[in-house]
């Protein structure tokens, strides 16, 4: 299992889907572990009743069906399926409405879904998902991207309330892939994934939604920054190591 994860870590992100399916067929006994450890691009389904799209993940799956956060119905239809309690469902509905506004303000498009379920320790778990197609043909406002995919997965565990306080543990994963294509730079593609955790103890006076939202906003911002500055920056540094920038070369040039 450790070896399999070691291999996946070394695989270029664009090939992780292929690598995962290869590992699943080699190590069927570890399939549930592999699936829970490895994130793949999010899939989307249309909720026919509400006419809206929703995101599929392990947290809204029961058997081979997925529950829509909009109508609370499973697609395909599933009998005796699992549902959150009515109280938690109320919070889930609110979270979906508010998170859609948040998503619109940061992403100018995209799809979002929030799922909640009761946890064993009297608390609950919430999963906030965003999928954005930022390509020219998708929701890319500036039309810079030939291809552009962003998937954000925020899973947040909320502990039981104790003296007006609650423990929050957030794990955020971002997966992205972007490609630009123009004559001078040709096909220029960056892709990857990154995951971080954040733990906080917060007063519940302003509500769970407010606390979870702030944490997600902060961590999502941090992840975006480190992708932009650290991760993209490291690949740029590597290019400059392989072939140092033009100025140095040009100084020695004229040879005609």
């Amino acid at each position: 299992m450790e070896a399999a994860l070691g291999l996946l870590r070394r695989m270029p992100p664009k090939q992780s889907e292929t690598a995962l399916s290869a590992l699943l067929s080699l190590l069927p006994q570890h399939s549930s572990d592999l699936l829970s450890q490895v994130d793949l691009p999010l899939q989307v389904l249309r909720d026919i009743e509400s006419g809206k799209d929703f995101i599929l993940c392990e947290y809204n799956r029961d058997a081979d069906s997925y529950r829509s956060p909009w109508s609370n119905k499973y697609y395909p239809l599933l009998e005796d399926a699992l549902y959150p309690s009515s109280e938690l469902r109320k919070l889930e509905v609110e979270a979906n409405d508010i998170f859609a506004i948040y998503r619109d303000q940061y992403y100018e498009g995209g799809i979002s879904s929030v799922y909640m379920w009761e946890d064993v320790n009297e608390g609950f778990v919430a999963c906030f998902l965003i999928k954005k197609d930022g390509s020219k043909s998708g929701h890319g406002r500036r039309g810079c991207l030939e291809e552009g995919a962003w998937d954000a997965i925020h899973v947040i565990q909320v502990g039981p309330e104790e003296e007006e306080m609650a423990q929050y543990c957030l794990t955020s994963t971002i997966m992205l892939s972007l490609t630009t294509d123009d004559e001078s730079s040709g096909k220029f593609g960056l892709s990857g994934s990154i995951r971080r955790q954040m733990k906080m103890e917060l007063a519940v006076a302003e509500g769970h939604l407010c606390n979870m939202g702030r944490m997600i906003e902060e961590l999502e911002g941090k992840l975006r920054n480190s992708l932009d500055q650290v991760y993209f920056g490291k690949t740029r540094e590597m290019v400059c190591t392989l072939r140092p920038p033009a100025e140095i070369v040009q100084m020695r040039l004229p040879d005609t």
């Binding site: 450790e2 954005k132 972007l178 407010c210 975006r224 392989l242 072939r243 140092p244």
Partner: protein, 274 residues
């Protein structure tokens, strides 16, 4: 190396691993154009489809040696002098040699860890003017630094088609740059571009200078274009995926969510809203 051990562990079958490795390594080595050191300081050989004689034998045209390669271990085990049939005619060699020297000079100036080779891939037996031939310039630079969680490679392949009748050289280049950074995450750059150019058929030395200048020009421009692509990322390209700040330019007003929910609640009870 650790990747290899992980692979062995996953497959948990030495025979399957060996079989898979025998098949996969030659393909990988050739497409990545890996560079191997030849024994007894004979220099380096680039493993590529342009220098391939048999699956395990690769010609180093510079030293006129053939390297015997172990693909799985990624080493050169032996060298032997190339046969006459494996080498170009003296007419072609004159062009190849001159170009190789110019390219070596350019590579040593521009790539700290670069390696180059010039192979003849078409018409190598021409014994004088009157026939077409084709040379391929390969430039590779690789940096593997797994202890720093990063790897990178630059690969250029330039095909130079010497057209005898029209006295023109058609030049086509394919550049491919990759970088992979995987410390607590996994991000990969995959960039490629193609170029076309031409120049006139001249003496071997003048051709060599002309071609090397064209290659230098395009590669320098391409590197600058990559820099531009990177510089556009934060405020342009990346913004189409997710903005740094919301459209309102202030953090999201989560403190209002409680209010928002209460209002909805009231609206529902009063039979307002959706």
């Amino acid at each position: 190396m650790r990747g290899r051990n992980h692979l062995k562990a996953v497959l948990s079958d030495e025979e399957v691993y060996n079989e898979a490795a025998m098949e996969a390594f030659p393909v990988y080595n050739k497409s990545h154009m890996i560079c191997l050191e030849m024994p007894s300081r004979a220099g380096d050989v680039i493993v590529s489809s342009y220098s391939e004689i048999t699956e395990n034998e690769y010609l180093d045209p510079r030293s006129a040696q053939v390297a015997i390669v172990d693909h799985v271990k990624q080493i050169c085990t032996k060298v032997r002098p190339a046969n006459d049939e494996e080498l170009p005619s003296s007419y072609i060699e004159e062009y190849r040699y001159a170009l190789d020297a110019e390219i070596q000079r350019y590579v040593s100036e521009s790539y700290p860890k670069g390696v180059s080779a010039v192979n003849c891939v078409k018409g190598k037996d021409a014994d004088g003017p009157g026939s077409d031939f084709e040379l391929v310039v390969i430039i590779t630079a690789m940096k593997l630094s797994p202890q720093n969680f990063c790897n990178g490679s630059w690969r250029s392949v330039w095909n130079i088609d010497f057209q005898d009748e029209s006295q023109v050289l058609n030049i086509k280049g394919k550049l491919q740059v990759g970088a992979h950074y995987f410390e607590e995450g996994n991000v990969e750059l995959d960039a490629k571009n193609e170029f076309q150019d031409s120049t006139i058929f001249q003496s071997a030395d003048d051709c060599a200078i002309g071609i090397a200048n064209i290659i230098r020009h395009h590669e320098t421009e391409y590197l600058a274009a990559l820099e531009v692509a990177y510089s556009k990322l934060p405020d342009n390209t990346f913004k189409d995926l997710r903005r740094k700040l919301p459209v309102t330019r202030t953090l999201f007003p989560w403190q209002n969510t409680l209010q928002f929910s209460l209002t909805r609640e009231v609206e529902k009870e009063l039979g307002l809203g959706k």
